[in-house]
Amino acid sequence: MDNLSGKDMRLVPDYASGERFLELLLDLGEMMLQSGAEIGRVEDTLSRLARAYGAIPDVYVIVFSIVVTLRFTGNDTGKNTSAGSISITQTRRVDDRDSIDFMRLDQLNDLSRRCCRQPVALDKLSGELARIHKGKGNVRYLLLGSMMGAFSFSVFFGGSVLDGLAAALFSVLIVFIQNSLGRYSVNRILYTMIVSAIVGIGIGILCRAAPVFNRPMVMIGDIMLLNPGVTMINAVREMMVGNTISGEIRLIESTTWALALAAGFMLAIHLTA
């Protein structure tokens, strides 16, 4: 019986469809977290959606975990509770991606807003979530953005156009590594260090071979792409709005990544200077 949809959502669902709904809810939360949503926004969205489907939610989200309990008590007025109230809890371990993707967040927000207004059947919700999950970023856009970023900041900090072009060239290498090695990386610290070292050594060699390039400026362009500055700023904002633990976890993580990045580039400078 799939009564978790449409008009009769005031009825208490059976366990199976309750569990299924909760699982979809966690899918949504997981995707939001992995696309870089703020903790408060994830908690808010999940709660609203659960309420729209007739549940009383209890949601707790931190950086890598979501815990949700849903209580279905039937009618608000206390009538029609013949089926008794049920309560279900699920937790989800969220793998760290730390790749900000506002397009996906936009689609997820849109979906949840639509479902809050008019709850759709679980099969449809599941299909929509799968569709959003599958929609992958276009590598060409990623390349374009990275090259633009690297070039601009290389020139921004005082490099010549040539330095900027070199930085853009190495940003292609970064995107390539992210799309190959990045997929299999188990440890973000080690991964950051290796990427930084590879890119740094590449730039070092280029600048020694062709002294027209100014090593600091080329490197800075690519450092801007790799450094976790955005994560740090978000971490502090997270703390300020009351999610202290999540903010601190992120702050410690991103500081460690920054140190790893520094270690990688320092190794490269040391080897090629």
Binding site: G36, E38, R41, I100, D101, F102, M103, R104, L105, D106, G137, Y141, L142, L144, G145, S146, M147, M148, G149, A150, F151, S152, F153, V155, F156, F157, G158, P216, M219, I220, I223, M224, N227, G229, V230, M232, I233, N234, V236, R237, M239, M240, V241, A258, A262, F265, M266, I269, H270, A273
Partner: protein, 146 residues
């Protein structure tokens, strides 16, 4: 007076923010506001840094501008404020100071390393303070209204 170098910087700040906006897959109609946000951030940084010669106050000013700018566009485009904030705050991130820190460490100039390291950390701290302050105020405003 504004120098040629600074005009190039402002232009590059806009392009850089645009680049990051593309990486973060911001909606197409929001790319331009995000890029101008980057330009504005650097403009206010330069303004304060010239008036006071102080990179900390300058970073703070730039960050406050970014937050206000992003809150404004978030309401207009009906998107979360982070969309605009993250892209426009990028030019303030101390990439140069981080590089100088590493370079000084490798070449054994520990005094310089200490100085640049401090610049890196303090710049980040002041960007964080600036952005958090404004978003905290906006959240407060929403709560009071409710």
């Amino acid at each position: 007076m504004i120098t040629v170098k600074e005009i190039i910087q402002l232009f590059m700040a806009a392009c850089g923010s645009m680049g990051f906006a593309i990486i973060f897959r911001i909606r197409k109609d929001s790319l331009f506001p995000a890029a101008i946000g980057g330009l504005g951030a650097w403009f206010f940084y330069l303004l304060v840094s010239k008036a006071r010669g102080d990179y900390m106050a300058a970073s703070l000013a730039g960050a406050i501008f970014c937050s206000l700018w992003s809150e404004f566009w978030a309401r207009r485009k009906k998107q979360p404020a982070t969309v605009f904030l993250i892209a426009s705050v990028i030019p303030l991130i101390p990439g140069n100071a981080l590089y100088q820190t590493m370079n000084s460490l490798v070449s054994g100039q520990f005094h310089d390393a200490w100085r640049w390291g401090l610049v890196t950390i303090l710049t980040m701290v002041f960007i964080a303070i600036g952005t958090s302050l404004v978003s905290a105020l906006f959240i407060l405003k929403d709560r009071v209204r409710e």
